[in-house]
Amino acid sequence: MNNSRRTFLKVAGVSAFALTTGVAGAAQAKIIGTYEQGDKALKAKRWAMVIDTRKFTSADDYKPLIDACHKAHNVPAIPGNQEIKWMWLDHYDRVFTDDMNANLPDKFKKGMFPLLCNHCTNPPCVRVCPTGATYKMHDGIIAMDYHRCIGCRFCMAGCPYGARSFNFVDPRKFIADPVPNPEYPTRMIGVVEKCTFCAERLAKGLRPACVEAANGAVMFGDLDDPNSDVRKALAENFSIRRKPSLGTQPGVYYLI
């Protein structure tokens, strides 16, 4: 439903009614059921991801992860710089821009590293969004409500990680028909989108698509739980994050 128009008309109508009669009736429809989280749902206080880049030797090794992600979410393959990407690869100096070291081993100079939304603890994108279309959930996931997004792209200006994509063109034209995952919606012209840590899969008890495709090279778990995979991996290995000095506290860690 064109939610804005609908609610606007409703608000306008109710206020007019209230003004003329002096009674503001409870016009909101009643919801007669209740909601719960589901028994199988994976739960955490603060979801985080640890990518063990040592286990990937080439860009091809990351391909299954990216394909799994983009298939699961019907991400279109748009050529050119108006593209959409939820997970992608880039060179070390583009990913870790703060580390301006020209004398790194070849593995870093030439290697590719995966990028995705960092699900920050202090997300600038949420701070700037004027409609609450992007928001932080209680488990630390930075989610998008595509229904509410007005496409102002303030979040894209705000995100220091370039994790957000805008639908400059109709995405359906760049997705196979039938879509790769008929269970998940596509997006439309004029809204912003990004990785959601597969919130819809977590609700069903499944781990994120890229984690599943990585055969253990990517860990996913609760950062607030000292016994979780991710905490153990971080305790035993040296890890880095992207642009830590900005204080966003990214939830994606890289073992290098």
Partner: protein
Amino acid sequence: MVERLLTGSKRYYMWLGFLCLLILASFCVYWTQLTEGLGVTGMNRDVSWGLYISQFTYFVGVAASAVMLVLPAYFHHYKKFKRMIIFGEFMAIAAVVMCALFIVVDLGQPQRAMNVMLHPTPNSVMFYDMIVLIGYLCLNLVIGWVTLEAERLDMDPPKWIKFFIYLSVIWAFSIHTVTAFLYAGIPGRHYWLTAIMAARFLSSAFCSGPAILLLLMFVLKRLTGFNPGEEAVKTLTKIITYAMCINVFFYCLELFTAFYSNIPGHMEPLIFLFAGHGGHVAWVTYWMWAAVILAFASLAMLIPPSLRDNMKLLPYALGMLVLASWIDKGLGLLVGGFTPNMFEAVTPYVPTFREIMVALGVYAIGALVLSLLWKIALDVKKGSGHFGEGE
């Protein structure tokens, strides 16, 4: 007073007709943007704001600049500005209308624009920007109308309007400050992350806005004979000169901090703007250098009193000043903010023909609003005898 719109010379109607045609043409282009998406613009994943938002920013400045007439007239009782003030206020109205339209044409889902009010989010600067812009529009409408009505009836404006006038002075500063906060609070954009952004915005607004006003007043004088008063023009030019000096000074402060500290993030956008990247010079570099030359040339013509008071030269000096500030704020600000991008790489941005057409359409709507409002003001001035050379 509205009925005064209906009587006018042939030239007046032809001008309105021309504007309407332009608006219609650009609306057709906008329609293609609505149906095909913002893909018709030159914006992209890395340079996600472009011409539209930069024009929005520039015209918030133009709107705020009315305060440069209001403040001397009401805080310092500088009577000479009283004749011209209504034109400044009406220009502010037209500018705010343009701002709103530039935001709307920039939205990916304009039909959902009401979401900003339906889901108010006080953590977003955009929310405050909306509030202050709407407030400023209302203030200027009320003040402009009430004072003009008083002039028409040859009375003093009612006392209560003073309160709104004082409020509008503070408000004008707030609209441009909040607009600067849109940029200055974003963590990863080096070119924008600077505390002096709001001050720079205000100084550039307070030189360019009154300069645009004066240029338009000169045109008006040619067309209708309305005389803003030589003394007023000279005083306003002085204000413009000071503001421009401060504006250039502030920009130099940025240069110092960036290059003396030698922090790459601070230097890179400036290097890109003025010297290009990796041996390639982007189109924006030529514009930036043009802005530098125009800025200093205009200052050279404005600072010496003998040149400044030369009414033949003045339009040229002001024109150069407006162009320089427009390039700085209307192009450089956005391109520099997004280049280098979040990966410290360069993604080119060039506005497309359709993007420019849509922007022209918004300009035309602004011109239309301005023409209509000024027509009313002029007719009232004619009726009350505040029109020709003397009082």
